[in-house]
Symmetry: C4
Subunit: 282 residues, 4 copies
Amino acid sequence: MNEKNIEESPLKQRLRSIIFGTDTPEGKAFDIALLVSIVASILLICLDTIDSLHNNYGELFLIGEWMFTIIFTLEYVLRLYCSQNRFHYARSFFGVVDLLSIIPTYLALIFPAANFALAIRVLRLFRVFRVLKLLRFLADGNLLLKAMLQSSRKVFMFFFSVSLIILVLSVVMYVIEGPNNGFSSIPKSMYWTIVTITTVGYGDITPQTPLGQAIAALTMLIGYSIIAIPTGILTAEISHEMVKVRDLRKCSNCGKKGHDNDAQFCNHCGSDLETLDSLTNP
Amino acid sequence: MNEKNIEESPLKQRLRSIIFGTDTPEGKAFDIALLVSIVASILLICLDTIDSLHNNYGELFLIGEWMFTIIFTLEYVLRLYCSQNRFHYARSFFGVVDLLSIIPTYLALIFPAANFALAIRVLRLFRVFRVLKLLRFLADGNLLLKAMLQSSRKVFMFFFSVSLIILVLSVVMYVIEGPNNGFSSIPKSMYWTIVTITTVGYGDITPQTPLGQAIAALTMLIGYSIIAIPTGILTAEISHEMVKVRDLRKCSNCGKKGHDNDAQFCNHCGSDLETLDSLTNP
Amino acid sequence: MNEKNIEESPLKQRLRSIIFGTDTPEGKAFDIALLVSIVASILLICLDTIDSLHNNYGELFLIGEWMFTIIFTLEYVLRLYCSQNRFHYARSFFGVVDLLSIIPTYLALIFPAANFALAIRVLRLFRVFRVLKLLRFLADGNLLLKAMLQSSRKVFMFFFSVSLIILVLSVVMYVIEGPNNGFSSIPKSMYWTIVTITTVGYGDITPQTPLGQAIAALTMLIGYSIIAIPTGILTAEISHEMVKVRDLRKCSNCGKKGHDNDAQFCNHCGSDLETLDSLTNP
Amino acid sequence: MNEKNIEESPLKQRLRSIIFGTDTPEGKAFDIALLVSIVASILLICLDTIDSLHNNYGELFLIGEWMFTIIFTLEYVLRLYCSQNRFHYARSFFGVVDLLSIIPTYLALIFPAANFALAIRVLRLFRVFRVLKLLRFLADGNLLLKAMLQSSRKVFMFFFSVSLIILVLSVVMYVIEGPNNGFSSIPKSMYWTIVTITTVGYGDITPQTPLGQAIAALTMLIGYSIIAIPTGILTAEISHEMVKVRDLRKCSNCGKKGHDNDAQFCNHCGSDLETLDSLTNP
C-alpha cells in the first residue's frame, strides 16, 4: 500500500481526493457539481418525453443528452484512471451504475429502441446515491435509520398480517362481486383491495352489490385503523432513540447529561460540549 | 397420560413431535414446508381465476390442486393418527380448518359449483395461523398485542363515536342530496360517508348540490382530523410498553435497568444479560 | 327539597331512580333497553329508505315505527311524571330531544311530507347521548377528553393555518384552471382543494392543465405532510396524560408511584391499590 | 428618537398605538375589526365568482368591494401618516401587501381584465398575517414552531428520499404503461405517482396492464407506510419540547419542576407560578 502511494503521481493522488473524497473543498465542489449534472440530465430525459417539447426542442435535448453523456464518460474514465484498484472499481456497485448510465446513449446510435434504452438511462439516478453517501454521516440520518431498523421486525409482522387480511378480503370480494362487476380475477381483486385498504380509492373498480359495498366499507375502516400501528411503532422507536442520543451528550466537565442535539455548551456549567457526530458515528 | 405414552410406538411419538411440535429442527422444517405448501396452493387458486392463464394452463393448475389436496389429506390423516386424543383434535378449531381445506376439492368431483367451493377452499389460508402461532412467542408480537389490548377500550370508544358521526352525516346527506344524485337510501348514503370519512374517495357517488358539497368537505376534514386519535392512543401505549420491557431487562450483576431489546451484555458492568423472551413470555 | 321528597309517592321515587338513575341494576337495565330501542328504531328508519325493502316490508316497518313511537311516548310521559321539576325537564336539552323524537311520527299522520319529517325523526339519535353520559365516568374517556382539550388550542391554530392554505390554493387553481375545467367558482375550487388536501380524491373535478396538475401535486404533498401535525400534538398530550394518571396511582403502603391502569396490587410491596376511577374522577 | 417623539402630536402617537400596537384594548379592537374586514372582503370576492350569485347580486358585490377598498385605502393612508418612518413602512413586506390589496380595484376601473386583477386582489389574504403576528407570542405556537424547526432536517431528508422514489416509480410506470394508457410523458407519470403515493387517488389516470397494476399496488403500500415517518419524527420532537417547557416551569418557592402548561399554582407548595409565556418568549 505504501509502495503504491510512492509510485503514484501527485496529480493522480490529487484527482482521487477530489473525485472519490469528500473532505477537501474541491472534493465537495466536485460532488455538488456531479449532483447537479445528474439531476439536470434526468430532468432533460423527463422533459423530452413531453410530445410538444420534444417536437419543438428535440434537437436541443439531444445535444444536452450527448453533452451529459460525454461529461459522464470523462468522469468514468477519470475514476478508472485514478482508482487504486481499477478492476475492483469496475466491478463494484457504483462502477457498474456509472457504466450503465453512459452506455445507453451510445447504444442508441446503433439500436434506436427508445423505451428500453430510456429505462436503463434512468438508472443514472442511482448515481445520486454516490453523492448521498455523505448523508449517511449526518446524525439525523443515523437516528432515523436506527429507529427504522429497530422497528423493522415489528413492521414486518404488521405487513405480514396486512397481507393475510388483503388476501382474505380479495377472495371474499371476488366471490361476492364476480367478474361482471370488474372483479375479473383474484389478483385483480387484490389490486382493488390494496387500492381500498390504503385509502387511495381510484374508483376504476367499485363494488356494485349491497353486500360488496358493506364489505368494502369494512375494508376501508380496517385500512383507516391499522394505519395507526406502524406510526405508533416508529414514533415510539424514534422517541427512544432521541432520548438515548441526548443521554450520550454528557458534559465532560460537570457530567450533566441530556443536552439538545444542537447545543454547543453545557447548560449547567457552560463548558464546551463535544460534537454529537463524533459520538453517534464511531 | 403416562400409561398412554408407554403404549405409544416411538414412531408415533416422533411423528407428533415433528408435526405438532416446533422445538426440534425437524418440527421447524415441517412447519416451514407446510407454510410454503399453503401459500403455494393459495397462489395457485388465485392464478387459476385469471381467464388467460386458466385457458392455457388450466390442466396444470388442476394437477397442482390435486397434488396439494393429496399432501394436505396425508397430513390430516397423520395428524389424526399421531394426536393423543383424536376426537379432541378433530373437533378443535384447527382440526376443522384442516378438514375444510381438503373437502372442497373432493366435493368438486361430484358437484362442480365453482364459486362456493372456491370460497371454502380459501379457508385453507386459516391454516397459516397454525404455523404462525410461533410468532406469538416473539417478544415484539407480545408487546404489540399488549399495547393493542391496553388501548382497545379507548379505541372502542373512538369507533363508537365515529359510528354515530357516520350515521348522522349519512342521514343529513340522504335528505340533502336525495336519490337523484346517487344517495338512493340511507345504507347507500352510509357507504358514501365511510368512503369519504376514511379518505378513500372512489368518486362513484359524489355530492352535486352546493350544500351537499359543503357537508362533504366537512366530512373529509372530520375524517382527516380524527385519524390522529387512534394513532395517538396506540403510540402512547406502545411507548409505555417499550419503556416497561426495557425496565424489565435488569442486569443480575450490578442491577442496572433499561437495557435495549437487542443488548447481549450489560452496558454498565459488562456481564451477560438474560434473554428478553424469557422475561416477557412467562 | 326535603318537603318535596316527603310528598312524593315511593313509586314515583323508585321510577325516577330507574329512569333517570344509572346506579341501580334496574337503572342500568332500563338504560340498556333504551339504547337498544333507539338503535333499533334508527335501523328501521334506515332500512325503510331502501326501495326494494320498502315495497315488500313497508307495512311491517310502519307497524314497527308506531310501536317505537308509542314506547318513546310512554317513556316521555313517565319522565315528565316522575321528574322533580317538570318544566325544567321539558325545557332541558334532553327534554326537547325526547319530544322531537316522537312528534314527527304523529305529524306524519296529518302532513305526509316524508323527507323533512325523516330528518327530524333521526334527531332521535341524539337520545343516544342520554345513555352515553355513563361513558363520561370511565377513566379512559376522561383521559382522552383531557388530552383533546389540552391540545385544542394547538389544533385550532393548525386548522386556522390549513384554512388559509386551502383558500390560497383554491384561488390559484380557480385562476389557472378556470370554469372550463370544472373549477366554476372559488367555493367549488375550495371543495376541490379540500377533496385533494385531505387525500380523499373523488376525481369528479381534476386539473387538466400541466401547471394545474403541478399545483395539485403540491397540494397533495402538503396534505400528506401536515397530517402529521395533529397526530403529533395529540400523541404527545395523550402520552403526558397517561404518565400523569400513572403517577397518581400511588401505593398508600410503600409510596411507590407509576402503577399500570389495570394493576390491582402494588408491584413493589403487594398491598391493595385504590381504584383509578376514584382518583381521576373526583 | 426622543426628539422625534416630542415633535409628534399626541393624536399621531395615539393613532400609532391603536393601528400598529396590540397592547391597548383599542389596539386589539382595531386588529379584530381589521381581521373581520379582510375575511369579509375575501368572502365577497369568492361568492362573486359563483355565476348565479353574480347575476343576481353583482351590483351589491361591487358596492361591497368598493366599500372595503375605501376602508383599506383609508387604513393605508393612516398607517403612512402615523408611522415613524414612512419610507421604511412603504418598502416593508406588510407595506407592499397593504398597497397591493387596494390597487387592483382601482386598476379594474381602467383595465377590466377580471382574472389577473382577482389573483392580485386575493393577495389581500396575506394581510391576515399582520393580525396573526399576535399568535407568534402564544406559547403553543412557539412550541409547535420549535418542534417543526428541530425536525426540519429529518423531514427534509424524508422528502428528498420520497422524491427519488417518486421519480423512479414514474419512469418505471411510463415505460410499462406508455402513452396509450394515459401515461403520456414522465411529468404526467409523476403526477400520477404523487396522486397515488399520497393516497389521493383521483382515478383520472389508472394503470391498465397487470404489471402496471402490481407496481401501482406497491406504490400505494409504500405511500401508506412512509406516512408514518414524518409523524414519528414530529411527535417525538413535540413530546420532547413539551417535557422541556414543563421543566422550565420551576416553582420559585420550593424548586419543584414539571408543572402543567395551564397550572397557576405549584402543586407541591401552593405558591403562585410565573406565567409560562414570559419563560418561553424571552
